[in-house]
């Protein structure tokens, strides 16, 4: 397949892995633990598991799976808000597919659908707008979920709805922003992350300048990366090269997609439609200041929260869940007390077990293949969890 196979060439991978070995040999290593490199984005977590990259890199490097999967950090209360709207008479509730299985305190959107709510999966916010045009006697609500990656398309859809004067369309906004969350992670004195593989799709929209505080204030390398296995290996090598050279900078491995200054047209649409929320809840991480946006008052009619007088639900994560520890990189998924027992892909408690980008679902699905060759497996038997990879 053109433009994909080129970035999956095993022969080139060997060369990059040789460079990684060579760089590791001449750099200082942390004492008593492997080097921690956090891939921020859920798409990267998915690729790391799909291609078995953790097993390809030396044991002295450990990928820490970051908070950059919007479905995984979706708080239970917000799922309840979705269910409330979906069960509102006359509403067609539309959402991206992987948000449908995330559990709230009253079940997931799939459960609401089974109870009779009209919940539909769409591939684009424009499909939801089309549904509104085709069903003028129904209220169509789109669940606008995601980081800056999906913000431009939802903003432009909302502007189009306003332009056309479509009166039965609105959006429930759950857009969140990655930089305040990275700041919160790094301000934690227990943070043991040595370098970052930065999100490619988010950066395509916002550009790279916003990450500069990471090398400048915290002295950590930050390399914006693509999603193919060679992208990730090359980015890892770029992080190591910075550490070996005793420097820290924002670098862009994904220059074929990410412009230094982002996408000005997309940023204009975002600024037109959205403004910062004072605070936003993240599953497992709690409230983080200015880490999300809401729809501006000028578009109040198109804001489902205002339109339906929604009182946002505030629901604590289940007590047994340790999603927060996993998202912060303090626990590996299989070290969570609920992993593979109370929490499985069939009965997920936390969203990390729901999305194919979630670290827990990835461990469960793509987990270790045998104890002798995989650290994950040996760790697992050490915690006496039995064989959790089959629920």
């Amino acid at each position: 397949m053109k433009y994909a196979d080129e970035f999956r060439d095993p022969a080139l991978a060997k060369k990059v892995l040789a460079r990684i070995d060579e760089t590791l040999a001449r750099m200082p290593m942390p004492e008593g633990r492997p080097l921690h490199v956090m891939e921020v984005c859920g798409g990267h977590t998915h690729s790391i598991f799909r291609y078995g990259l953790q097993k390809l890199v030396p044991d002295s490097i450990e990928f820490v799976h970051g908070p950059g999967c919007p479905v995984c950090v979706l708080p239970m209360g917000r799922v309840d808000d979705c269910v409330t709207l979906a069960e509102h008479p006359g509403v067609i509730f539309t959402t991206f597919g992987d948000a449908m299985r995330v559990p709230g305190s009253r079940g997931s959107l799939l459960d609401a659908k089974a109870r009779g709510a009209d919940v539909r999966m769409v591939y684009s916010p424009l499909d939801a707008l089309e549904l509104a045009r085709g069903n003028p006697d129904r209220e169509v609500v789109f669940f606008a979920l995601g980081f800056e990656t999906t913000m431009p398309s939802t903003a432009l859809t909302l502007l189009q709805a306003a332009d056309e004067g479509i009166g039965n369309f609105s959006m429930l906004c759950q857009h969140i922003t990655i930089i305040p969350t990275l700041k919160a992670l790094l301000s934690d004195p227990h943070c043991l992350i040595d370098g970052f593989i930065g999100p490619g799709h988010v950066s395509m929209v916002i550009g790279n300048a916003g990450y500069r505080f990471i090398p400048e204030r915290h002295g950590k390398p930050f390399v914006v990366a693509g999603f193919e296995p060679l992208d990730l290996l090359q980015s890892l090598w770029m992080v190591l090269a910075q550490l070996a050279g005793g420097r820290a900078a924002v670098e862009n491995q994904y220059a074929r997609v990410v412009p230094e200054d982002g996408n000005p047209a997309a940023l204009r649409a975002i600024a037109e439609v959205y403004e910062d929320r004072e605070s936003c809840d993240w599953r497992g991480l709690g409230a983080i200041d200015r880490s999300g946006v809401r729809i501006r008052a000028a578009y109040a009619d198109l804001d489902a929260e205002r339109r339906f007088g929604l009182v946002p639900a505030d629901v604590a994560d289940p007590e047994i869940c340790q999603c927060g520890e996993v998202v912060r990189g303090r626990l590996k998924p299989f070290q969570c007390r609920a992993f593979g027992r109370e929490c499985t892909p069939a009965t997920p408690l936390g969203a990390l077990m729901v999305s194919s980008e979630g670290a827990c679902a990835a461990y469960h699905q793509y987990g270790a293949t045998d104890g002798a060759t995989d650290r994950g497996a040996s760790d697992r038997s050490a915690t006496d969890r039995g064989a959790p990879a089959r629920g």
């Binding site: 078995g52 799709h201 194919s356 293949t369």
Partner: protein, 323 residues
């Protein structure tokens, strides 16, 4: 109702068994060999009803026929029960009945009994079809997943995911123009050829819903073995790869309607592939992996990149990823 039955189903399925219009079809015992009977049933609901490469009628015949043939049976007779939503155009029903008759002829069996119900609008989605099938198993054939042994070659007859991808694209909500066609076909000729060339074959299953990954997991589970496959051997068309990339889906879990996975003893594997390849639906036949002892009950894939990963059972349907 009588018009519906006579005008559409009898006209399409016309044979001595069904034309008698008794309350049951009567089949001579001579139609069945001495090895035993195979009996199966399946219900079919699909959106859209007509899709590139097939329709619900063809699907309902092939699905049941294939459940018989992968057990080594030769299909003899099928039943066909339909539940129709009031308002379904008769032209659609005629087209579906003709397609069932054609598929049954292709599979070498007859539709000998049936039933029709019409329910009010909204109580069904256009048309639901149930087919049951019986077949004869020739003496000496004993295909079963529990017979799979370490050392067996794992082979498939076709490229993965054609049906699942074609139906997804045909739903139209993706806005993608593709040339994807379902692989919906009866597998009898392919299975017979395989069993001729590789009589020691241990097990065959058609990889419908849940895809090849699900069948391999069932194999591993039933026989207490490990199915090891190589990602770079999986036969995939560019169109299925492309759609999977765009939607973040894994073709290993996409549905097929003309694909089986067989566990064949190593010494017979090459002969099996050689007879499959010249046949319709067998051109892409290839070996995708090998059965080993450990880890028991697991499916392990070596990625083309050299890494290894587990291929687990899927929970629910695959959901497209957000970004």
């Amino acid at each position: 109702m009588r018009d519906l039955i006579d005008g559409i189903f009898l006209a399409a399925f016309g044979n001595a068994g069904i034309a008698a219009l008794e309350d049951q079809a009567r089949l001579p015992l001579a139609d069945f060999g001495g090895g035993g009977l195979a009996f199966t049933t399946d219900s079919f609901v699909i959106d859209p009803v007509f899709f590139p490469g097939g329709d619900i009628g063809r699907l309902a015949v092939c699905g049941t026929v294939n459940d018989l043939v992968v057990g080594g049976a030769r299909p003899v007779a099928l039943s066909c029960s339909v539940i129709l939503e009031e308002g379904l155009p008769l032209a659609d029903l005629r087209r579906i009945a003709a397609s069932m008759a054609a598929a049954a002829a292709e599979a070498g069996c007859r539709i000998v009994t049936g039933d029709t119900k019409v329910v009010p609008r909204g109580a069904a989605d256009r048309i639901f079809v149930n087919t049951a099938g019986i077949g004869s198993i020739p003496q000496g054939r004993e295909l079963a997943a529990t017979r799979i042994r370490p050392g067996d070659a794992l082979i498939v007859n076709s490229t993965l995911g054609l049906h699942g991808a074609a139906v997804m694209a045909a739903r139209g909500d993706l806005g993608l123009a593709t040339a994807l066609e379902s692989d919906c076909r009866p597998l009898g000729a392919l299975v017979e050829a395989l069993l001729d060339a590789a009589p020691g074959t241990h097990a065959i299953r058609d990889a419908t819903r849940g895809g090849v990954a699900t069948v391999l997991n069932e194999f591993a589970d039933a026989a207490g073995v490990c199915c090891r496959i190589d990602e770079d051997r999986l036969p995939l068309t560019e169109a299925v790869r492309g759609l999977s990339e765009i939607l973040g889906l894994d073709p290993l879990y996409l549905a097929n309607e003309g694909l089986f996975v067989a566990a064949v003893p190593e010494p017979e594997a090459e002969a099996a592939l050689a007879v499959l390849r010249p046949l319709p639906g067998g051109a892409a036949a290839c070996r995708i992996g090998t059965v080993t002892g450990a880890p028991a009950g697991r499916v392990v894939m070596t990625s083309f990149f050299g890494g290894e990963r587990l291929v687990d059972m899927l929970e629910g349907d695959q959901l497209p990823r957000i970004c």
